[in-house]
């Protein structure tokens, strides 16, 4: 072995060691500052982590674009949904009078709110776009109460990290980090374009997360849980979406 190749070998070894140590430090920092999504494993983990970390660093407090009312789509496209369950049809037959949104987990005051109670809370509107991962989009005016308002009523404990939310329909649930949950445009939506929210668009109650793709805006919302441990839910990937191959963080 020549001197040059020995030197190269030593330098290469040192560089590799520094690289591994650097990656380890980076991973710890990323974990500490909440830059790592629940579905960070596997071959697509690095890409998912970069997408999520970018949002956490550059767009944590930014607002989704809002549009003038002239840009509201004439026909808001109701995407395909599975036939409603019996539980849904039963509540629908009663005019959704018995629809409840329950909140539990890391909150001081677990609660159950009717639609009328939700409507009595401060009413907010946003004209934002629904963007589907398929590529299509439409703009509508969404009316509801800020999720942060309801979470504050329930009293979120300081260690809370995620809000997990469930549709009345089976296997339909998702979650967002606590910053997204407290974001002023994250709504519990009960109205669209000055009417009740149509069933096709998620009525009577739909989560609205306008900075992420449409699938984060789960339809037919009945239950919220605040947690510090996302691994306890489903397969521990943060939502039903990653179990079907889709990203938990859907801001791209």
């Amino acid at each position: 072995m020549t001197d040059t190749s020995r030197r190269k070998l030593i330098l290469g070894g040192l560089a590799a060691a520094a690289g591994v140590a650097g990656l380890d430090v980076a991973a710890r920092l990323a974990e500490k500052y909440g830059l790592v999504p629940p579905d960070h494993g596997g071959i697509y983990g690095p890409g998912e982590t970069l997408n999520y970390a970018f949002q956490r660093v550059f767009a944590r407090h930014s607002l989704a674009r809002e549009f003038p009312s002239s840009m509201i789509s004439a026909r808001p496209f109701p995407n395909e949904i599975a036939p409603p369950s019996d539980a849904f049809k039963h509540l629908q037959a009663g005019g959704f009078a018995d629809w409840r949104l329950t909140i539990d987990g890391l909150v001081d005051r677990p609660a159950a709110f009717s639609l009328d109670q939700l409507r009595s809370f401060p009413r907010n509107s946003q004209i934002t776009e629904v963007s589907c991962e398929e590529g299509w989009s439409y703009v509508a005016q969404w009316t509801g109460v800020r999720l942060s308002h309801v979470l504050n009523l329930a009293g979120v404990r300081p260690q809370a990290r995620y809000v997990v939310y469930f549709s009345i329909e089976p296997e339909w649930w998702d979650s967002i980090d606590i910053d997204e949950a407290m974001h002023p445009q994250t709504f519990l939506t009960y109205g669209m374009n000055d009417n009740d929210l149509p069933v096709g668009n998620g009525g009577p109650l739909r989560m609205r997360v306008p900075r992420q793709l449409g699938y984060k805006s789960v339809k037919f919302l009945t239950h919220l849980t605040v947690t510090d441990d996302i691994k306890r839910f489903g397969k521990g990937l943060g939502s039903a979406a990653p179990e079907g191959g889709y990203a938990w963080y859907a801001g791209v």
Partner: protein
């Protein structure tokens, strides 16, 4: 065709080797190692992005201008293929398998790699003089005579003269510059302009384009232009000698028989 003058300074891979531009028989350094590594990373990512891009577009093979567009609005372009989703009115009575989930994940992962690699290549291009010495056409390149001669020989599918193994011809330079400085930034920009989070942070990225659906449509057109570039690129390599050119991009060395400015 005898007028094309390859600049002496751009013969070699870098300034130090091109200074002694008297070729000897055998193999000589042609492509710098950074260009070779980034070339093949780009190649891998290009195919990953192309295949996953096709899978993604099959879920909604309709394209629109402006901010919004969906099954209830009229498309500007409908690609005549079945979709991978039920509701899309394609006119076909069957749906393709839905591969959107992993396709999107791979698309974004490859996009990150392309962006990091592109930054590395861009820094090298500017600071090591690769763009200026090897890609920027010279005044002589851009004369009408030189341009028309180059276009003429390309249209006749002539095998390029030997010296072109050592320097890019004018059309090649212009095509590479167009890809590097127009298509690549455009496809990254329009990709980002489709992201609801990115446009929340940087709204002008989509407003300047005229809307999210416009961004998506330009993304498609830019990808088609890149596919066209790839087809011509491979055709030209085949014409010039597929294995010698490919070997040069792998090993960095090219055959050095005959003087590099030998005229046909």
């Amino acid at each position: 065709m005898a007028t094309l003058q390859p600049a002496h300074a751009s013969l070699g891979a870098d300034a130090s080797t091109s200074a002694a531009s008297i070729p000897s028989a055998g193999l000589r350094a042609r492509h710098p190692v950074l260009v070779r590594i980034t070339h093949w990373i780009f190649t891998l990512c290009f195919f990953a992005l192309l295949l996953t891009g096709i899978a993604i577009l099959t879920s909604h093979p309709r394209f629109y201008w402006g901010e919004t567009g969906n099954d209830l609005t009229k498309p500007w372009l409908q690609i005549p293929i079945p979709a991978s989703r039920d509701l899309v009115p394609t006119g076909y009575h069957f749906i393709l398998p839905d591969e959107n989930g992993w396709s999107r994940a791979l698309h974004f992962e490859a996009a990150w790699i392309v962006v990091f690699t592109g930054l590395l290549y861009g820094l090298f291009g500017f600071f090591a003089g690769h763009f200026r010495k090897n890609l920027l056409p010279t005044g002589a390149h851009l004369s009408w005579r030189s341009l028309s001669a180059a276009i003429g020989s390309h249209l006749k599918f002539r095998r390029p003269p030997q010296h072109e193994a050592w320097s890019y011809n004018v059309l090649q330079r212009l095509a590479y510059l167009f890809v590097i400085f127009v298509l690549f930034p455009l496809i990254v920009w329009t990709g980002l302009a489709m992201s609801p989070t990115f446009t929340a942070a940087f709204p002008s990225s989509v407003i300047l384009l005229g809307g999210k659906q416009t961004a998506r449509t330009i993304h498609l057109l830019a990808s088609m232009a890149l596919v066209l570039f790839l087809a011509v690129h491979i055709l030209m390599i085949a014409l010039a000698g597929f294995w010698s050119r490919t070997r040069a991009m792998i090993t960095g060395r090219a055959d050095a028989f005959g003087p590099p400015m030998e005229r046909p």
